[in-house]
């Protein structure tokens, strides 16, 4: 009986520690802590409205807002293309998955598509930049030993210009190859519909 009471006390105290630890490390608590510090305030001022939204909201809520009811307007029998300006590989994958979730039962396919392409951008000035043709269009290549393509680090250096990626999902057997990009200027991108908040329907033509 005594043993059981001791075990009970240990479990309860341990679990309380876990809960407190969890609450302390939660985004909710950290939000209030970070709001108080001046350094983070300065950083926040420099960020765009959209990035603020992404930080405050769950990403999926934002993408839900962007593509709400779009699936009703599109042809579900063929797959739809997907481009983005996100260049971090994990970020683009989660954004792609969120977009697929929102647009279900349409099929998003970044390689095989007919005509229609979804643009899911974090840069809210995307429409103006595309209209001014102030963009670079890049396709991802998975290649172990090829130096003719640009690396992700090269692309990070490009400032004030929109980099549109058509990333290619390749099964890498769990091993990470160096990501390289084939960037071409002979692609014409035209806007079919503005959905707001960095979301657009596009058409991409190869001028070759």
């Amino acid at each position: 009986m005594k043993k059981e009471k001791i075990i009970l006390a240990v479990i309860i105290s341990l679990s309380i520690i876990y809960i407190l630890n969890w609450v302390w490390h939660s985004k909710f608590t950290n939000y209030f802590i970070s709001e108080k510090t001046n350094t983070t305030k300065k950083v926040n001022e420099n960020k765009t409205v959209l990035i603020k939204n992404i930080k405050n909201l769950d990403k999926i809520n934002l993408i839900e807002e962007r593509f709400k009811n779009l699936y009703k307007k599109i042809d579900l029998s063929t797959s739809i293309g997907y481009v983005t300006d996100l260049n971090g590989s994990y970020d683009w994958v989660t954004n792609f998955q969120h977009a697929q979730y929102t647009l279900s039962p349409a099929i998003l396919d970044e390689i095989n598509y007919n005509g229609l392409i979804i643009g899911n951008f974090t840069d809210i000035n995307v429409v103006n930049k595309i209209k001014k043709q102030d963009y670079i269009f890049c396709k991802k290549k998975i290649n172990k030993n090829n130096n003719s393509y640009l690396t992700i680090e090269d692309l990070y250096k490009i400032k004030n210009q929109l980099v549109i990626y058509s990333p290619k999902l390749v099964n890498t057997q769990g091993y990470f190859y160096k990501e390289t990009y084939d960037c071409k200027k002979n692609y014409k991108i035209s806007i079919l519909e503005e959905l707001g908040n960095g979301a657009v329907l596009l058409k991409i033509e190869n001028l070759d």
Partner: protein, 461 residues
């Protein structure tokens, strides 16, 4: 009108559960609330399977769903009354007056559940769609099934990233309720996950209390719910709680069968056991491995004790399993969805990997290091395993059975990580083992306490 249809649909769901598992876990008016949960959860299996088969006819309407379910219910009742004695229905009245919840007895459990419920709802206001895996597998699947009936098969044309080979228990259940309501709302998946999150500890407590003392049941339930990972899984809308629930239910049923020799005589009960085990395969793919583990353990125990009606019992349990395995089998045979493991397997890569013994050692090291982490509750498993290996070996059928499950579980997952996984094994272990251990966690708790405590009373089915 929509809500009336929904009410009828939920009632049908409950009746399915009543017909199937009446009196097996709790007797009439004993633990009414837990009884209500258990029957609804089992009912979800039947209604989600029927909904899945209905999808093949396209143009689904609420009336079509209800009429089909009624049709199957009548057939089910007819067969259960006439041929199989294990299925019977006398009174399935849910008497609200007789729900007696002893708040003093369970106040600690309610205290923790209240805290977690608060965090659950807060988290779900912020992230009503759940975490990325839930969005990818369960939420996306439910939308494919519900949104446009004509194109629901698009679900199986997606790229490998979306795990289209996963079974459709959660997706069908959510989509069925959306279809009954005739609109899509995130409240449905949130409520389903909350019901499992709340119902499982209560059922767990009552079931353990049936065989062990009150204190043991309380401690074991605290072991289940006290650590944040339990609520994290529920809040993230993962299907691990559902899988864990059905796994525990089938193991508990078998455990109880072995406690009482009188129960053990009736081979029909093994049909029920097989059926319960098969339900796990419709919840998550890991359920298939679990079913194999259960059958191997049954064969081992039967062989060890030279059981009467050996083949009959094994045949009945496998027959039961195959009946509840039909939805999963249909899914895979119709859509030719190969599992992720088979799809990306290249034999030469694997042979190269295994041929270097250092790789295998790294995998084993990572496997056991992950288990030793206290967050994964694996200390209990290790301590219990040491017991099993000979320090306090008790030659009792139920103990041998439950530990053979754990032992085969360990071996099968080591085998899986070394020989089968298409990913980097160390990476795969670090990202998946905690969830797999979580699925077996209630069974581990049951095994642990079965070594230390005496059985209170023998329950006869």
């Amino acid at each position: 009108m929509n809500f009336l249809i929904l009410f009828i649909g939920l009632f049908t769901n409950y009746i399915f559960g009543c017909v199937f598992c009446k009196n097996f876990f709790f007797k009439n008016n004993e633990a009414a609330l837990e009884n209500f949960f258990i029957k609804n959860f089992v009912g979800f299996f039947f209604t989600s399977s029927i909904y899945f088969f209905l999808l093949f006819t396209f143009n689904i309407s609420p009336l079509k769903i209800l009429l089909t379910e009624l049709f199957f219910l009548i057939i089910f009742l007819y067969f259960s009354k006439s041929y199989l004695k294990i299925f019977f229905i006398d009174k399935f009245r849910f008497n609200l007056k007789k729900i007696r919840i002893n708040f003093i007895e369970k106040k600690i459990i309610y205290f923790f559940l209240a805290i977690y419920s608060f965090i659950f709802f807060f988290r779900n206001i912020k992230s009503p769609h759940g975490e990325i895996d839930a969005i990818n597998h369960w939420g996306r699947g439910a939308r494919f099934l519900f949104r446009d009936n004509e194109f629901w098969t698009n679900n199986f044309d997606l790229r490998f990233l979306f795990h289209t080979d996963y079974p459709l228990f959660i997706q069908s259940t959510v989509s069925r309720i959306w279809s009954l309501l005739n609109f899509e709302t995130q409240l449905v998946p949130i409520t389903i996950h909350y019901l499992f999150f709340l119902g499982f500890p209560l059922i767990f407590y009552k079931l353990i209390k049936k065989i062990f003392s009150h204190n043991i049941s309380l401690i074991s339930t605290l072991f289940l719910i006290c650590f944040p990972f339990y609520s994290q899984v529920a809040m993230s809308h993962y299907a691990d709680i559902q899988l864990s629930f059905f796994m525990f239910l089938s193991v508990f049923f078998a455990f109880n069968l072995f406690i009482n020799e009188k129960n053990n005589i009736n081979p029909n009960l093994f049909f029920f056991l097989g059926f319960l085990t098969g339900i796990t395969s419709w919840v998550k793919s890991e359920g298939i491995i679990f079913s194999l583990i259960v059958f191997l353990s049954l064969i081992f125990v039967f062989y060890l004790y030279k059981e009467k009606f050996f083949f009959k019992k094994i045949f009945y349990s496998i027959f039961g399993f195959f009946i509840s395995f039909i939805p999963y089998l249909t899914l895979h045979s119709v859509f030719k969805t190969k599992t992720e493991i088979l799809r990306f397997q290249t034999l030469s890569d694997k042979i190269n990997f295994i041929s270097d013994y250092q790789n295998v050692l790294d995998v084993l090291k990572c496997f056991f290091m992950e288990m030793i982490k206290f967050n994964n509750y694996s200390l209990i498993l290790l301590i219990s395993s040491i017991y099993f290996l000979g320090f306090q070996f008790k030659k009792k059928k139920h103990i041998i059975f439950i530990f053979s499950i754990l032992f085969i579980f360990l071996l099968s997952y080591i085998f899986f990580y070394i020989f089968l996984t298409p990913l980097d094994p160390v990476f795969h272990i670090k990202t998946s083992l905690n969830r797999i251990l979580f699925q077996y966690h209630p069974i581990i708790i049951l095994a642990f306490f079965s070594l230390h405590t005496k059985i209170k009373k023998k329950n006869k089915f």
